[in-house]
Subunit: 157 residues, 6 copies
């Protein structure tokens, strides 16, 4: 009953067949945060030049990973992503990363948004790890999805 759709009746992994689905516009937003010491956070967030390239590096990493989600996640369909956007927010003791992905297609883009957030966070971790080894990545979750048969869904806080 509560079967995983990525496994067939015998429990074998498979990529779900989406041939019969119709292509509708779909979007998904996700978020996550990386908690770190003030000096690491400041080094990443403050200072014109430094800010530019530290955040830009994480943003580009997240965008490029989102385009390759189907290569990273074994049972994800390869998708022709049509939009991807990543934003950073300074939350005092953490940097919040939010991503929104979109396309017109047969499957949702939740995994693209989640992957963009995860890889941007890993890149911030890589940036800051010489200053703070105790950083923790937290709260990676889906915020919203639109399109497809199941329509719009929003997380309730």
């Amino acid at each position: 009953m509560n079967r995983l759709t990525h496994l067939d009746e015998a429990g074998a992994a498979r990529m779900v067949n989406v041939s019969a689905k119709s292509g509708t516009h779909r979007s998904a937003s996700a978020e996550g945060r990386i908690r770190m010491k003030p000096e690491a956070l400041e080094a990443i967030m403050s200072g014109i030049g430094i800010k530019g390239e530290a955040l830009a590096t994480a943003r580009i990493a997240g965008i490029m990973a989102a385009k390759r989600t189907g290569e990273l996640i074994p049972l994800c369909h390869p998708l022709g992503l049509e939009s991807i956007k990543i934003d950073f927010t300074d939350e005092g003791d953490a940097i919040r990363v939010a991503a929104t992905a979109g396309l017109t297609g047969k499957t949702g883009v939740e995994m693209e948004a989640m992957t963009a957030v995860s890889v941007a966070l890993l890149t911030l971790y890589d940036m800051g790890k010489a200053l703070d080894r105790t950083m923790v990545i937290e709260g990676i979750r889906l915020l919203e999805k639109t399109g497809g048969k199941s329509g719009t869904w929003r997380v309730m806080d």
Copy 2:
């Protein structure tokens, strides 16, 4: 003073030069967890066949991503990973993922362990998302590192 080593004096991103470092044996362990509803957790963790392929899929995804860390994280050095191991633990309301990576080389393998954990968690998310859209990935952090100039470091809980 608290400069990010991945940015040069002008704030430009760069891959740190490790040519002069000596190659020592290095290892790193990381962990993270994905919190989910009981029915999703049970579908992933229980049942011989299903368990095998759901966890195996996440494990393979994590192992393959660890080998490609240098492709995903812009300023990571490409490494010839010599070992990578990923374990799962059923924690009742979450699945814990732990990874240990190792090699003999000039740079540490923290990012390989962190990437393995992150992508294994994303794959579990992908597996369970049809059953539970409210899953949250939490607590991705480094547990331990050995080798290199800075020697052994362990997280303190």
Copy 3:
């Protein structure tokens, strides 16, 4: 007359132009087998845990390679694969691998099915090579294709 479609009039390699083709639903099935000593076959096929992860690893490898067929085979078009499924059969002195791929598009998916089978077989070889260096991969061939201008084709045994 019997010209290779992947070479132009001068014999230069090219990716065939499929712009003018219409997108129809297409599928392809392929098979192959790996012949090995009984102890290697048994180690791969028998035992709950071991069976799960040995076959699962080969299955995931085949699925992931199928999605990247256009990266591996120089003149293949990059495709948005919509389904891929890989099965294993114990044939006593060999493991048979069969794959079925599908999508709605302008080109067939024969190469995706053939690549899935080949890489799954290579992964089984990698698994078993410490037990049997004389394993042989055999009989990789197309079983059936549907869709496109040429319609359905089935191998005759």
Copy 4:
């Protein structure tokens, strides 16, 4: 006893730890063939220009795939391949592909040679499939390996 080295005691897939191994020079040779109708074989093998680019395309595909073996085969170590060579032989009713790979390192290069042969054969299949859908890929096997703790091994026919 006859345990698969790629699975741990619990049957979980892992990349074998080779940190403690010493780096020796290693090589491996493999072969395989693709059986096809005379007109397909002739189109691939005869004619200056055509021959050049059909075989060259398969050769380049095999070389490039050999370099990415660690990306394709889940539990293979990523290697810095130091040499790879691919040859074709016209056998009348088949094209034989042979590959030899080499490096100085901690693990063997059998999978690199086997992958080079497999992907070169798949590329020939892709080239000829419009002329002959009944082509069969056969006899992919290791011919010889040198180096490492187990030393030289040669197939016995």
Copy 5:
């Protein structure tokens, strides 16, 4: 006013949203050249066998890179390229490379044609660098584009 479309209002990099665009047939042609000493040029261009594989290698490299443009160029959309063709011309003191790419889709294929030319030129450089270290790659530019809202554009010399 003269804003870069790849940056949002705040100057942050993004992949432009093309969801609302309609899919029309698009093509793009680009060129470039590599200037080299006569002996290097002759080694690459003359001689049946040598010519075949030197140019074929560059051609395959360009074709394969064109298919992966979205992986290389951070803000390019991943595309299902439908045609790509690369030609070489001996210009006496240089080899000219020209590429034409095409697809039916929502974004143009200029970057695919430019990337094909660039990587083919880099491969020729790699081929010839043991004979001539002073080779220079020059004049990589767009020649023509068709399709999309802006229609046909041709370079004026």
Copy 6:
């Protein structure tokens, strides 16, 4: 006599065998430029935020491509790059890109420096192409190499 080292006696492409070479420290620097209209150049180079992310995007693209040179250029050896650095200079009517790569190994890193420059230039082209379709990429060449049997070489202007 003036044979291409990447082709064997029969003219077949191969990856040169470097097993017998010793690993010395090697570096390479390359440059290139993209000529464009003042409004495109200004949009890319001026303005704090915009400057940050436009150049940062090109820099990250170049760094990431350098790490994957062995995947892009068919006969290049896969290398464990130890350093890569990319700089931009505003030359009034052009942006100059310079890259320096380094590692301790058996082969030079000329192709890594050349690839970094080429892909950074392509990314700038992608950034500016909506403002100026007549941009031209020019003068991509090696500036200097050190290490290996042939020692230091510098371009003479």
